[in-house]
């Protein structure tokens, strides 16, 4: 019995060794800066903030306890975008063109400033409740990061929102910040978390200034731009996002 245990010990040690060797060999071939393949992760998906536990943002204006979690989440998320932090860590970049940084792959990359104040009414500076206290909530839209990806191929990607299905009149107006709801080219491409340490994803704030109250309003926001895919049925977060607003008065 002892002999067979020894036999298995040796066999499995050998196998584990071979496995480790293979994985080690694999890791040697991988670059820490650029993934070998990026075909599964692109085109980019979309995500919103506040994000608590789902894609239904429901609150009652008259009951602050229903919306303070959202507001706190927004503040927490936007901390990294505080103007002074951005100014301290990141540089100002020329707008309207990709911020391509040549040189060694391992060299630390600079990131462009995205200041919270650019979000204007949704910056939470003037209105620390992001409009939740008035029934005009702000929602931040964020495009998923993909290394080396240049969205729009030269033309900035823009955002539009519409009722997903149902009565069109439930959504009367949305304001977009900054600049009509586009992601400026200067924030791309992304160089990966190892070298692009201080990178902050550009945001588009959606300010729902006139949404039907006391009802569930399904809203779909899409990215528009060249190379963006936003109509795949299997993945409802690819180039678009669907969420529901329910604002009680």
């Amino acid at each position: 019995a002892g002999l067979i245990l020894l036999f298995y010990l040796i066999l499995y040690m050998f196998l584990a060794g071979m496995f480790s060797f293979c994985i080690y060999g694999l890791l040697l071939t991988l670059s820490p800066y650029t993934p070998t393949y990026r075909d599964r992760v692109s085109p980019p998906g979309v995500m919103i903030r506040p994000y608590l536990h789902g894609f239904t943002i429901a609150f009652n204006v008259s009951e602050p306890s229903t919306w303070t979690p959202y507001v706190n989440s927004m503040h927490h998320f936007l901390q990294a975008y505080d103007d002074n932090i951005q100014e301290e860590k990141n540089i100002e970049c020329p707008a309207g063109q990709y911020f391509v940084q040549d040189g060694a792959e391992s060299k630390e990359k600079k990131a462009c400033q995205f200041k919270r104040s650019q979000l204007q009414n949704c910056s939470g500076i003037e209105d620390p409740t992001f409009g939740y206290s008035t029934g005009q909530p702000c929602i931040l839209l964020k495009m998923n990061r993909i290394i080396g990806y240049r969205p729009g191929y030269g033309t900035p990607v823009s955002v539009n929102c519409a009722i997903q299905k149902g009565n069109e009149s439930a959504l009367k107006s949305v304001d977009f910040y900054p600049g009509n709801g586009t992601f400026d080219l200067m924030y791309y491409p992304y160089y990966g978390k190892l070298t692009h340490v201080n990178y902050t994803s550009p945001l588009v704030a959606l300010h729902f200034t006139d949404v039907k109250k006391n009802d569930f309003v399904p809203i779909q926001c899409r990215l528009n731009g060249e190379g963006i895919v936003n109509n795949v049925t299997n993945d409802r977060f690819l180039g678009r996002i669907i969420f529901t607003l329910s604002i009680g008065m």
Binding site: Y8, C22, T36, N144, N234
Partner: protein
């Protein structure tokens, strides 16, 4: 007891009229027909079709699959109830599982249905006709319309339509061999000669053949109440034994099911302890069951068996029950009938004694054997007697038929002599015409001789020739001289002793001996045209010249001795069980090698040592002949003891019941018993046997019904082929199962790692089903075509208790060695695919909860890229596919190593098994199709994968191959060593 009643009593009993030959009243007959039912054997009750189908759906593994499907449905139901409609995976899986069970069930049912149909085609559909007398008129009616009391006529060539009490008979002889196993024709006459209905002469039995003569009789039993019918119902009372392979598979399914539940249960508990919700844990349980159960195995086994069955059918063995194929391979005792199986079932001249010398005649079926020296004058004289003193003749119009196959009108010995002289002499009919017959006295039991007087061929020779044959001692009494080398010598004491020795020798061979003599009559006393009177016998019947002896036997088939020899080398005991005389049985047994040369019975030893039988040490006797009378007084233990003591056994004069007891006793010794037989009398034993083998040509329907296998050419040698194929399929099934089991480990480990280490799931349930039921089926079946590794016919039959189909070594080797290597291959490829897409191995650990959170649409990978849930799902499918391909690549290596268990693959020949090569190519093509066919990702969760991911498992595949070669080398080099014991399966 109808045979003991007088005709008058019978008339009264059955309301019939015999004396005036009026028969029954047809209206009364109609009533009786309604009361008793038609005169035919009721077919044995079959299992209803829906029960057969249901049985296919309710096996051990199938039940487990049903449970898994139920869990899937419940999980889906609960998900629906919670309003979670995002994934219908569980529903798909449930449907897939149910489909698998139903489809494999249909497949098994179809196989069974097909083999049943083979038998149906054997049934004779032409209704039998019978001549019956009713209301004083003769009718031809269907035999199934006959009732008790009917007066029927039978003649030579008819099948007896029911049990008949003979009223009148003219030279009627019947062949009872299918009932009693006696190959000699039995005379039927009106007199009651024995108190037992089976022995008396005045009953002719249902379904026996009337060979010659005519008879009329009253029907005393019809349908199932006939003797044959009663034996047939005895057969249906015998339980069908489970075949060894069925026991093996059951044994193995139990283990698999047990392990599956054990693994599933363990991980269910582990999952609960770790803190998964109950429903999730249930789904884990289900997934483990699906991963662990070899879904395709039963289909593989069925296909392998039916392939062998097909191969056997080409070699004249038709298998009714698929599992019987393997049973034959594990057979350790064959109880063979004599007549028709071991022998040719026709009397043939085997020996001649003339010129004081025993000559051997050619007894082969096709007359290919050596002939004896025919130059002697005595031979010419003897030949003349044989040809002339014979009443049998060929049916006309058979000139082109080879002599042994021609149909002869006449009794068995005369037929044998006629054919013998036709072969040695040429045209006997014409020869007889040249020697015109002047008069003749046919054989009768009081005279015990037959005599005829002929004119000579040469017209100038006025003599008559008297020729005579008969029982040798009676013939010798009438002789005064003996012909030796053409010279007539006085028959003195010396010659008489020579005669006695020869007679004893031939009789000892179990042969029927006839003496022949002749006399040229004095032309002065008997001129041409002399009126011979057979009543007065106005001619000499003594003082004749003795020419020689001729002995006849039903000779063994040419192929049988060789086949028996092969059985012997294959460790199979052949026991003869026959209804025939012990001496004949022993002689045939000796000539075919059932009693081998030099083996002696107790009686032989006693005779040799000149001591009484009681003083002989029974253990010294290898052979033993037991007859039915002795058997009757024997306890079962005693019989078992005898079977143990004497390796070479012959049972003679046995009844159907005794055959059954013999088979049971052999089974008590732990043997797997095959029984061959053709008669109705054999059917209970055929049924009781582990495998019953019926004869296709001579076999009765009852025998074929009871049997598991049918030899279309009635040739014992075909059984040897069957044994060989059976052993081969056992070996190959072992390989096939080893191959199939191996991949259960790489299917199972992903789940175990998934549950314990919480990596994203590496292999999905649907993918597992594809491996089990799609890509791996063909290779596992192709192993059935593998040639034997060694001369399997030189090995002992497997010990059903020790040599299991699936033994510990096989399972351990497949699971924990090859299976483990495959798992490592799968995980290597999995981590490669993950890492190359951005998920490093260490990140994967513990990632499961986030990975599977379908709200988390921006999960960061190792590079900081953000993935939506949908993207991650496709990545997961990529992993499934990569793992799938890894298993496939390793399985290719696996199927190559499974070609042999002991030999090197290079010794066996890499490409010798063409089917296997095709199967590998097919497997690869199927893998490519599943990967690269558009639409697959969303239907079956297969993603197109990168080329290099096909190559990642290759080193492991090579490792499997090399490792197994090393294993085999060790097993070959050091038989009996620790290595051999642990690693040889």
């Amino acid at each position: 007891d109808d045979h003991q009643l007088s005709v008058e009593d019978l008339e009264l009993k059955y309301q019939t009229n015999v004396t005036k030959v009026r028969g029954m009243n047809s209206t009364v007959a109609g009533e009786i027909l309604l009361r008793d039912g038609p005169n035919e054997l009721k077919p044995p009750k079959g299992t209803p079709e829906y029960v057969k189908f249901a049985r296919q759906l309710a096996g051990g593994l199938q039940c487990l699959m049903w449970v898994a499907a139920a869990i899937c449905l419940i999980a889906f139901g609960i998900q629906c109830g919670q309003g979670d409609l995002t994934s219908a995976d569980n529903l798909y899986l449930a449907i897939a599982l149910i489909a698998v069970v139903v489809v494999t069930g249909c497949f098994g049912y179809y196989q069974e249905f097909k083999s049943t149909n083979i038998i149906a085609s054997f049934k004779n559909l032409v209704p039998q006709q019978a001549t019956v007398i009713r209301d004083g008129d003769k009718f031809q009616i269907n035999a199934n319309q006959l009732v008790v009391g009917d007066l029927v006529e039978i003649k030579g060539g008819d099948r007896v339509p029911a049990d008949i009490r003979i009223i009148t008979a003219q030279g009627c002889k019947v062949d009872n061999s299918s009932l009693t196993g006696e190959s000699e024709p039995q005379t039927r006459a009106p007199e009651c000669t024995h108190e037992s209905p089976l022995e008396t002469r005045n009953i002719a039995f249902f379904s026996t053949m009337c060979l010659e003569g005519t008879a009329t009789g009253i029907i005393v039993n019809t349908g199932d109440r006939t003797i044959i019918g009663r034996i047939a119902s005895l057969a249906s009372g015998v339980e069908n034994e489970k075949t060894p392979i069925a026991i093996e598979i059951e044994h193995f399914v139990d283990i698999i099911a047990g392990l599956a539940i054990f693994f599933g249960g363990t991980f269910f508990i582990v999952a609960m302890v770790i803190g998964y919700p109950f429903l999730k844990a249930m789904v884990f349980f289900m997934a483990i069951v699906v991963a662990y159960v070899p879904e395709g195995l039963l289909a593989t086994v069925t296909v392998c068996l039916s392939l062998t069955a097909k191969r056997l059918a080409r070699k004249n063995c038709v298998v009714k029950n698929l599992e019987a194929v393997e049973t034959l391979g594990s057979t350790s005792v064959i109880c063979s009938d004599k007549t028709g199986t071991l022998t040719q079932n026709r009397m043939t001249v085997s020996h001649l004694w003339f010129d004081n010398q025993i000559h051997t005649a050619d007894t082969t079926e096709d007359q290919s054997g050596q002939s004896f020296d025919q130059s002697s004058e005595t031979w010419r004289a003897l030949c003349k007697i044989v040809s002339l003193c014979n009443r049998a003749f060929f049916k006309s119009g058979q000139d082109n038929v080879p002599v042994p196959k021609r149909i002869v009108i006449g009794d068995a010995s005369e037929t044998a002599l006629l054919k013998f002289s036709e072969i040695t002499l040429g045209n006997v009919m014409e020869y007889r015409e040249r020697y015109k017959k002047a008069c003749e006295i046919p054989f009768n039991s009081t005279n015990k001789f037959q005599l005829s007087i002929h004119e000579l061929e040469d017209p100038r020779d006025p003599r008559y020739l008297l020729v005579m044959k008969g029982a040798p001692e009676r013939i010798l009494e009438r002789c005064a001289t003996i012909m030796i080398k053409g010279q007539e010598l006085p028959l003195d004491e010396q010659w008489k002793e020579a005669f006695q020795t020869a007679y004893m020798d031939l009789g000892g061979l179990g042969e029927r001996v006839l003496g022949f003599c002749h006399l040229y009559l004095d032309p002065g006393q008997f001129p041409r045209g002399f009126a011979f009177d057979t009543e007065d016998m106005n001619f000499p019947t003594s003082g004749l010249c003795f020419a020689g002896l001729i002995s006849m036997i039903d000779p063994p088939r040419a192929t049988v001795p060789d086949a028996v020899m092969k059985c012997r080398t294959a460790g199979i005991r052949v026991i003869m069980v026959t209804g025939d005389h012990p001496i004949t049985a022993k002689a045939i047994a000796a000539s075919v090698g059932i009693i081998s040369e030099g083996s002696e019975t107790v009686e032989d030893i006693a005779a040799r040592m000149r001591i009484p039988v009681e003083q002989v040490n029974k253990r010294e006797a290898r052979a033993c002949v037991v007859n039915g009378g002795q058997l009757k007084d024997m306890e079962t233990e005693e019989l078992v003891e005898i079977l143990k003591m004497h390796p070479e056994m012959v049972f003679a004069r046995t009844s159907p019941q005794q055959k059954l007891i013999i088979v049971e006793s052999c089974q008590k010794l732990g043997a797997i018993v095959a029984v061959t037989g053709d008669g109705v009398n054999d059917s209970p034993a055929l049924k009781k046997a582990d495998i019953g083998v019926a004869m296709g040509i001579a076999g009765s329907d009852a025998a074929k019904n009871a049997a598991d296998m049918i030899l279309l050419d009635d040739n014992f040698a075909s059984i040897v082929t069957g044994v060989e194929q059976g052993r081969l399929i056992f070996d190959n099934l072992k390989k096939s199962i080893a191959y199939t089991l191996t991949k259960n480990i790489p299917e199972l480990t992903p789940y175990l790692i998934y549950i314990t280490v919480s990596v994203p799931l590496p292999l999905g349930c649907i993918t597992i089903l594809f491996i089990e039921l799609c890509t791996d089926i063909f290779p596992s079946v192709s192993l059935a075509y593998e040639k034997a590794e060694s001369d399997i016919m030189h090995l002992k039959p497997r010990n059903p208790r020790r040599d299991r189909l699936v033994n510990e070594a096989l399972a351990v080797y497949s699971y924990f060695q090859i299976g483990a290597i495959q798992s490592f291959a799968g995980f290597t490829d999995y981590f490669t695919a993950m890492a190359q897409e951005g998920w490093f191995p260490l990140l994967c650990v513990g990632l499961r909860a986030q990975w599977e959170n379908d709200h988390l649409q921006d999960l960061q990978d190792s590079y900081g890229q953000e993935w939506t849930f949908g993207q991650r799902l496709y990545q997961e499918y990529t992993c499934y596919t990569v793992f799938f391909i890894s298993i496939e690549m390793c399985q290719i290596s696996d199927v190559l190593i499974r070609k042999t268990r002991r030999l090197s693959v290079f010794q066996q020949g890499f490409f010798r098994n063409k089917i296997l090569v095709i199967a590998i190519v097919f497997q690869l093509c199927l893998g490519c199709f599943l990967c690269y066919c558009p639409g697959m990702p969303n239907i079956f969760n297969f993603m197109p994968i990168r080329f290099q991911w096909w190559l990642v498992p290759l080193p492991y595949g090579i490792l499997i191959f090399v490792y197994d070669e090393i294993r085999k080398l060790g097993v070959r080099r050091h038989p009996g060593s620790w290595w051999d014991k642990e690693l040889y399966y």
